[in-house]
C-alpha cells in the first residue's frame, strides 16, 4: 500500500483541494517577505561579494570564497599595506583609494523591514503548525515513508512527465514532505539565526550566537548558503506548480477550497 495515501486517517485533508486560512496567510507573508529579502540581500552581498570563516574577514584578509557578482568582484584599489605592529608579518592596514559600488542604504533598511514580516510569519506558522498538529500530521515523514522503495518510487514519479495530477494541499508524498520540512524547520529558522548573529547589538545580548556559528563571518557565510538553498527550493517549487495545473494550485493557496 502507498504509505502516503489519503486513506491513512491521520492524513485525511480537512479542506479538500485547498489550504487552511492560517496556512495561506503565513505562506504569503513569508513568500512575499522572502522575495524582498532575496532582492535586498543580493544587493547587500554585491557591496562586498567575499565570504569568510571565523569572527573577522575583510579585503586585507584571505577570503573563503569570492563570488563573481556585480562591479565589486575583485574590486581593489588600495594603498601599500603597512603593518600595525613593529614585529611585522602580523595584521596590516591599507587605505581604500576608490569607493566601491554600494546600494546598502535602502537595501539594508528594506532587508530588515521585510525581515520583521518574515519573522512574524515564521513564528505564526511554526506556532500554529505545532498547536494544530499540522506539522506532525502533514509534513513530518512517517517511518514507512522513509523506505528506499518509497523514496525511489517518488523520485521516479517526479521524473515522469506529465506530472501526476495532484490536488493542492496535503496529503504530500515523501519528497514534498522532506523539502517542506527542510525549508520550514531548518532553512528558514537558520536564516533568522545567522541573520541576527551579524547584529552587534543582538550578539552583545546573546553571545552564544557567535559561538554557535563560529563567528560573525561564519554566520554570514552560512546565511549565504542558506539563501542559495532557499532560492533553489523556490525555483523547484515554482516549476512543480507550473507542472501541476498552476491556476488551481494558486487558487488553493490563495482562496482555500472555494471552487
Amino acid at each position: 500500500m502507498d504509505p502516503t495515501s489519503a486513506d491513512d486517517p491521520a492524513e485525511t485533508p480537512l479542506e479538500a483541494g485547498g489550504h487552511r486560512l492560517w496556512v495561506r496567510l503565513t505562506h504569503w507573508a513569508i513568500a512575499g517577505a522572502a522575495i524582498v529579502l532575496i532582492v535586498s540581500g543580493v544587493t547587500i552581498l554585491m557591496a562586498h561579494p567575499r565570504l569568510y570563516w571565523g569572527h573577522a574577514g575583510n579585503d586585507l584578509t584571505q577570503p573563503l570564497l569570492e563570488i563573481p557578482l556585480g562591479p565589486n568582484h575583485h574590486h581593489g584599489s588600495w594603498s601599500k599595506a603597512t603593518p600595525f605592529f613593529a614585529s611585522g608579518g602580523g595584521p596590516v592596514t591599507a587605505n581604500r583609494l576608490v569607493e566601491p559600488w554600494n546600494q546598502n542604504s535602502w537595501a539594508r533598511s528594506l532587508h530588515f523591514l521585510a525581515a520583521w514580516i518574515f519573522l512574524a510569519g515564521l513564528i505564526a506558522y511554526l506556532a500554529l503548525g505545532t498547536a494544530t498538529g499540522h506539522l506532525r500530521r502533514y509534513l513530518w515523514p512517517r517511518r514507512a515513508e522513509l523506505s528506499r522503495d518509497n523514496i525511489g518510487r517518488d523520485i521516479k514519479a517526479h521524473l515522469r512527465l506529465p506530472m501526476p495530477d495532484a490536488e493542492p494541499g496535503p496529503p504530500y508524498a515523501i519528497l514534498q514532505k522532506l523539502s517542506y520540512v527542510l525549508i520550514a524547520l531548518v532553512l528558514l529558522p537558520l536564516m533568522f539565526l545567522t541573520g541576527i548573529s551579524m547584529s552587534p547589538a543582538i550578539a552583545a545580548d546573546y553571545p552564544f550566537l557567535l559561538d554557535l556559528f563560529g563567528g560573525t563571518q561564519s554566520a554570514r557565510t552560512l546565511h549565504f548558503f542558506a539563501f542559495v538553498a532557499i532560492t533553489l527550493f523556490l525555483v523547484v517549487h515554482l516549476v512543480m506548480i507550473l507542472l501541476t495545473r498552476p491556476l488551481r494550485q494558486l487558487r488553493g493557496m490563495t482562496l482555500g477550497n472555494r471552487r
Binding site: L60, T93, R96, R108
Partner: protein
Amino acid sequence: MTDARIRISRRALIGGLASSAGLLLSGCNEEPPTYGNLLRMGDNLTYSAQRLLLSRTSLVREYDRAEITSMPAIGTVDPTQGKAGDQYAAVMRGDFADWRLEVVGSVGQPKSFSLADLKRMKSRTQVTRHMCEEGWTAIAEWTGVPLGAVLEAVAIRPAARFVEFHSFDGLADSVDLVDAFHPQTILAYGMNGRDLPIPHGAPLRLRVERQIGYKSLKFLRRIVVADRFNDFGKTGSIQNGWAWHVGI
C-alpha cells in the same frame, strides 16, 4: 498563598508589566523623523524593538590581543583633501598639539579638551570587532576615554536626549543616551597600542560598539549635547537614505 492573593498578584504583575512596557515605549518617543518614508518607519521599529527587548548595558565580546586582524581604512582616509581640509591640516601639525574637542550644547559647563586633557582622564582599552555595513569585519584594539566620562565632566543636563558628533570630513551623526553612556562607547585616541593613525580617524574617533561601523565617526572636532533630534539636513544619515540607529 490564597487564590485571591494569587489573582491580585497576577493582576499586579500584568499591570506592572503593561505600565513598564508603556514607560519603555514612551521612552522611545524620541525617535528620528521618518518623513513618511516606509524604510525609515522600519528603521524606527527595529530601533524601538532593540531598546525594548535588549539589555541596555550588555557588553559586546572583547577579544584577546592575539586575535587582532588586519583592518582596512575606508571612507575619508585623508581629511586634508576635504572641505575643512585646511583646518585639519592646521591642527594636525605637531602631533595635533593645537587640536581641540569642543563639547557644547545642553551642558552645564561647556569645555574644550586638548588631546592631552583627554589622555589624562580615565581610559579604557578594548579589543572589539568592527562590523561594516558592507559586510566585512575587523578586530582591533581601541584605547580612549569613555564618552560618559566626558559628558559628566561637562555636566550634561537632565533634558539632554542625544549626543551629536561633528567631524573634520564634514560628517555629522548622533546617538541616544543609552549608547552614549554605554561603558564600551569611547572616544578613541589609540589603536593597536599606538596613536590612532590618520586614515583611521586621528586624532580622535568614536567607537559605538553595539552599532554598525559607520556610526563610529572619525576625525572628531565637536560634540553637541542636544535635547531634540537633529537630522543634520543634507549631511545627515537620514536624508541620505541611511538608517540612523544601526544595531543590525
